[in-house]
């Protein structure tokens, strides 16, 4: 909502300055979004008289004018306007002035060898109208004595742009804003006596509001103005509209706009001669078409509230008029409409048609239903004053009557909610200033809610009004007490934070990427999940919710590789989606590494990152998070986006209930499709929702501390086994031999090839044997040795290598 202080002063008596105004507007909840000085520099534009014109020596169409701008010497101005002639009073812009329309700064220029010391202006150049044919012609009688003076009235009023919250429809008119300001003590409201139409003529165009199941029009007021001469608006009106950034069009349109901006009363003017036998307010039929004033054709659904005549649709009620019945400069007879439309209906229609107009914006927020007559009175009388003509009586058709809203308000609630007190006297004054009518009833106030406040219906609304106007600065600060009765994080939240930092501490950089992704990328990592489409995505590249974090990570990994980085680890911890219902999502920690370890190292041998790097990060992270390494179970079943041979999945125990993590190389086919250029890409996914939360707290996770000081001995074994026997099996078998004596098992070599049969491999394992009770002698050790060999050979078909 754009206003100026000057316009506010039409409704408000105040001595205060504009800076105070800006502060006060913000303090009462009418946020000042921006301030713009439209008139700065406009005082340079002067009323001037052409004294003499000569033909330009070098151009047929140009004239060289001597112009009187109230100074001793006449100014020479080159002008191309056909109407530039001796004696004409017009507007002169000197060098330095900025032309409002083009925003160009004038300078002294030579036009075809003749120097021009300024410019004579057209209305269009000054944004006064669209008239660009010729320069402005001012009436001699009125402007003769003003030569040399500024054309634009001196105004220090800035254009103030307010952000009006959707509940405050009443502040979409200057008077409403003035009322709020007056209530807050910023001046006093001016009482403006409403002039009424005094007419004996009947409104002869019949208006009928059809009975419909849902009728969007509650009442339809109108009056007929005959024999008008639509013209250009008078200066005061043009100035007013220009001051808030509106373009004057014609008197009739300008007046309806002015009344709307002034008292928030949208009106519509029809060319009465174009209405075919009466107005019918009805619901549209499916497929009906009409052309609106924005020159677009709209095809309507069933049930939209339209204003029609017997030929068809004239306009969408409360939203936009149609071209067929629009007023023009030659319009003679006008039907002026002032109606009430249901906000819901307005919103439904405009949403469907994707139409936004000033009227729609106001009606959908709720217009004062009792402003129908005052709007007609004000506009009709102005039209008569400016355009002449005869006004008929006002005709009002209704399908519903406005019921006065009364609210019982308990003044004690105010302090209960806001924590501060205001006196009864102040409370009553604020409410009265805002337009409430008050009756005291015991401890309650019986409030009649002003008709222009559709937002007020319960006590809390009144509390807000009182708090807002008396000032939020009165709310006292009560310092919070530092006490905690409940733990801040739940166990799963703690796990989230722990994993996040555990992964980062392994050299991964945390990324946060969109929850949505490109379906092409998503498809690579979707697995068996279904695609979840967004109905209205920002772009097709962000068209689906991600089924895996990999799709985004790999895309961004690629971008970073393109930036010239080679060895990178990034991760993200966040949601992935399984379905389109609330809750169908899981938290995943997903990491991705590219390139080499120890690239270009003078000391270490460089190598590609591989599946065991990913596995290390997963395993270490899970151990750090408190999960028992000895229970981990790993197999090689992984989703199809991993390398089928170089990836694994990890369970927290042999029960294989839920997958705790996947790790491995990304499938080479995907890398090829994405065209990612790196020696190696490995990744992992840890599924937080599948990690059973440790029941124990940290203090009872620690078991009794026992160590053995008896001598330990290490024995090495090399087993030759079939290739399909995996290391995990061997280790499990060995550890099952005697869990009391075997304290550690380590694979230290893997060999395939020469001297080993095909389809077999040799695994070398070091076993640490230590007793809690005694130092083991040679015999004990031999026994356990033999037992290990026997058990492994029996259970896995391995042969000890001699």
């Amino acid at each position: 909502m754009k206003i100026t202080f000057d316009w506010l002063k039409d409704h408000l008596n105040t001595n205060l300055k504009e800076d105070k105004l800006l502060e006060e507007l913000t303090n009462i909840g009418l946020e000042v979004e921006s301030i713009e000085n439209l008139s700065s520099g406009l005082d340079l534009f002067k009323v001037a008289k052409i004294i003499k014109t000569e033909k330009h020596p070098n151009a047929d169409r140009l004239k060289v004018c001597d112009v009187d701008i109230g100074e001793k010497e006449l100014k020479k101005v080159v002008c191309g306007a056909p109407n530039a002639q001796e004696g004409l009073i017009t507007i002169f812009a000197p060098p330095g002035a900025i032309v409002p329309k083009s925003k160009l700064k004038l300078v002294v220029t030579k036009i075809r060898d003749v120097t021009s010391y300024g410019m004579l202006c057209s209305e269009s150049e000054l944004n006064l109208s669209d008239e660009s044919e010729g320069i402005i012609e001012l009436k001699t009688s009125k402007y003769q004595k003003n030569i040399g003076k500024s054309y634009f009235s001196k105004s220090n009023s800035n254009l103030i742009d307010l952000s009006i919250t959707p509940n405050r429809s009443d502040c979409l008119g200057v008077r409403g804003i003035a009322r709020d300001l007056a209530a807050s003590g910023f001046g006093k409201m001016k009482y403006i006596k409403e002039k009424k139409i005094n007419s004996k003529t009947k409104q002869t165009i019949k208006v009928k509001i059809n009975k419909e199941k849902v009728q969007g029009c509650g009442s339809f007021g109108s009056c007929l103005i005959t024999n008008v001469k639509n013209t250009e608006s008078p200066k005061w009106l043009k100035d007013k509209l220009v001051s808030v950034g509106q373009k004057p069009i014609s008197a009739i349109v300008d007046i309806t706009n002015y009344v709307m901006l002034d008292i928030n009363r949208p009106l519509h003017a029809y060319d009465a001669d174009k209405i075919d036998r009466g107005i019918i307010v009805r619901n549209s039929k499916s497929g009906e078409k009409f052309t609106a004033l924005d020159n677009k054709s709209y095809k309507l659904d069933e049930g939209m509230c339209v204003i029609s005549d017997n030929k068809g649709i004239l306009g969408l009620g409360g939203i936009i008029g149609g071209t067929r019945s629009g007023t023009e400069l030659n319009t003679k007879n006008i039907l002026l409409e002032s109606a009430y439309f249901n906000p819901r209906s307005i919103r439904g229609t405009s949403k469907k048609l994707n139409l936004d107009t000033d009227a729609k914006f106001r009606f959908e927020r709720g217009i004062d239903p009792l402003s129908i007559e005052s709007g007609l009175n004000k506009a009709a009388l102005l039209i008569k004053e400016i355009c002449g003509g005869e006004i008929s009586k006002i005709d009002i058709q209704k399908t519903e009557t406005y019921k006065i809203k009364i609210l019982k308000f308990d003044p004690n609630l105010f302090e209960r909610v806001t924590g501060f007190k205001i006196s009864n006297k102040e409370m009553l004054k604020i409410l009265e200033d805002l337009g409430f009518k008050i009756k005291k009833e015991n401890k309650y106030l019986k409030l009649t809610i002003p008709s222009w406040r559709p937002d007020i219906s319960q006590e809390i609304d009144v509390i807000e009004e009182l708090a807002r106007i008396s000032g939020y600065d009165k709310i006292k600060i009560i310092d919070p007490i530092k006490e905690r009765t409940k733990s801040t994080l739940t166990k799963s939240q703690k796990l989230f934070h722990f994993l996040q930092r555990a992964i980062a501490s392994k050299g991964y950089i945390e990324a946060i990427t969109w929850s949505f992704t490109d379906s092409n990328f998503n498809d690579h990592f979707r697995g068996a999940n279904k695609e979840i489409k967004i109905v209205n995505p920002i772009s097709s590249e962000l068209g689906v919710l991600r089924n895996s974090i990999f799709s985004n990570l790999i895309m961004y990994m690629n971008k970073n590789l393109d930036r010239g980085f080679k060895d990178l680890s990034i991760f993200e911890i966040g949601p992935i989606f399984k379905g389109s219902n609330p809750g169908e999502q899981n938290i995943v920690a997903c990491g991705l590494s590219a390139g080499k370890k120890s690239r270009l190292s003078w000391i270490d041998e460089e190598r590609n990152v591989d599946v065991f790097d990913a596995k290390k990060d997963v395993v270490q992270t899970l151990i750090e998070a408190g999960y028992n390494y000895d229970k981990f179970f790993i197999d090689s079943e992984t989703p199809n986006y991993y390398h089928p041979g170089k990836s694994g999945r990890l369970f927290l125990n042999r029960g294989k209930e839920q997958v705790a993590a996947y790790f491995g190389e990304i499938h080479p086919n995907i890398l090829k499709k994405i065209d990612i250029k790196s020696e190696s890409i490995v990744g992992f996914e840890i599924f937080l929702d599948n990690l059973k939360l440790p029941k124990k707290t940290l203090n009872n996770q620690k078991t009794k501390f026992t160590v053995s000081d008896y001598q330990k001995s290490e024995r090495d074994f090399a087993f030759v086994v079939n290739k399909d026997v995996n290391a995990q099996e061997l280790i499990n078998v060995i550890s099952s031999v005697d869990q009391n004596l075997i304290s550690n098992i380590k694979v230290f070599d893997l060999y395939e090839g020469k001297n080993i049969p095909e389809n077999q491999k040799s695994i070398a394992i070091s076993v640490t044997i230590q007793s809690q009770e005694k130092t083991l002698n040679d015999k004990d050790l031999d026994n356990i040795n033999n037992l290990i060999i026997k058990t492994v050979e029996n259970k896995t078909g391995a042969k000890i290598r001699s």
């Binding site: 924590g419 600060i477 009765t485 050299g507 995505p537 970073n560 219902n581």
Partner: protein, 355 residues
């Protein structure tokens, strides 16, 4: 007697020569081995006449000690020389680079969430969560924003079905609804998380982060709200004093509603929070609307309280001098590395939010 003296003299002069470790060891064996010259003398002690025996034994011991010490010294000296020679050869250029290491980083948004949680933890808030996909009811209707309410225009919503029944939550406020439906008052929670609006330009991203706050009890009024936020802002920006302004505004789910501005100024191109006469809007808040309480079956004549919503990304930008919201989600390694935090930098109450 003269025997052992001879041995002594002979070997002392031998040991004066430059000898290798092996040569010394040979001498050691010659003297103290099983049948060494000295060792065999000890065996003779028994055959010495009574009167001379004591003196012989004492002399022999002295000579033994003398020779032994000499040999030990000699060996030590040689070893020392050896080590020194070795050290001389082992000198390396320590300015060569160390073995390579990689540093991980925590995203500034994650760090900020931890900071926020830490601050609110201190005054008794616990952390709640809600799903990113919400139904229309929790996101709008239950929050007193019925269908066809103009306030819905302020939220450009991503929908997941044509009937607009499921959507990506446009704010964290639906967590209020979920929390209040799940439990009984009092409530004192914050809910940080991802939020979505179909808006994308320099200052808007289709995904961003908010933290919701909710405090409901018997007598929680606006003074507590102001106190809580005043405390939070001071702690978050780690400044002693803060300029804060409550400005009336409108949100369908709170009433009275306020937007909160903090004072700032720009010094040498950097934003200084808490000073100056410029105002910056950082959050929206208010008293939970009775209609919302009614929707979650809480008696608004018995319970009342406040709620607030803060843009996390925006706070992070202000605190850490980040200019472009979009850069948070661009995943540019250089940016993440620059603005990211060390994983060991866990914000805590006792150690402080930041180093």
């Amino acid at each position: 007697m003269s025997d052992i003296k001879n041995i002594r003299d002979q070997f002392i002069s031998k040991l004066k020569n430059d000898l290798s470790i092996d040569e010394i060891n040979n001498i050691k064996t010659e003297l103290f081995g099983k049948n060494g010259l000295i060792s065999s003398q000890f065996k003779n002690i028994g055959s010495i006449v009574e009167v001379d025996r004591k003196k012989f034994a004492s002399d022999l011991n002295m000579i033994k000690d003398e020779l032994q010490n000499l040999i030990i010294d000699k060996i030590k000296k040689i070893e020392l020389t050896k080590i020194n020679e070795k050290l001389e050869n082992e000198k390396i250029d320590v300015t060569l680079p160390e073995r390579s290491f990689v540093r991980g980083k925590i995203h500034p948004v994650s760090q900020t969430i931890d900071e926020i949680s830490s601050i609110f933890s201190e005054i008794g808030f616990s952390v709640e969560e809600g799903p990113d996909i919400e139904n229309e009811y929790n996101n709008f209707t239950a929050l007193n924003t019925p269908d066809n309410h103009p306030a819905r225009d302020m939220h450009d919503t991503f929908y997941l079905d044509e009937n607009k029944e499921t959507l990506l939550r446009t704010h964290t406020s639906p967590v209020q609804i979920r929390t209040m439906l799940k439990d009984k008052p009092p409530f004192k929670i914050i809910a940080p998380g991802r939020t979505y609006r179909s808006d994308s330009d320099q200052t808007h991203a289709p995904m961003f982060h908010q933290v919701e706050g909710l405090c409901i009890d018997k007598d929680i009024h606006m003074g507590y709200l102001k106190g809580c936020l005043n405390y939070f802002i001071k702690e978050f920006f780690e400044v002693e004093k803060i300029k804060m302004r409550f400005r009336p505004s409108h949100f369908p789910f709170t009433e009275p509603s306020a937007e909160v501005d903090i004072g700032y100024e720009i010094k040498d191109g950097k934003i200084i929070i808490g000073e100056g006469d410029q105002w910056l809007e950082i959050l929206g808040c208010g008293m939970v609307h009775p209609n919302v309480l009614k929707n979650v079956k809480i008696d608004s004549s018995k319970f009342q309280g406040y709620a607030f919503g803060i843009g996390i990304d925006r706070l992070a930008m202000l605190k850490y001098g980040i200019n472009d919201l979009r850069s948070f989600f661009d995943c540019d390694y250089r940016w993440l590395n620059h603005f990211g935090f060390d994983p060991l930098d866990v914000p805590t109450n006792y150690r402080g939010l930041s180093r």
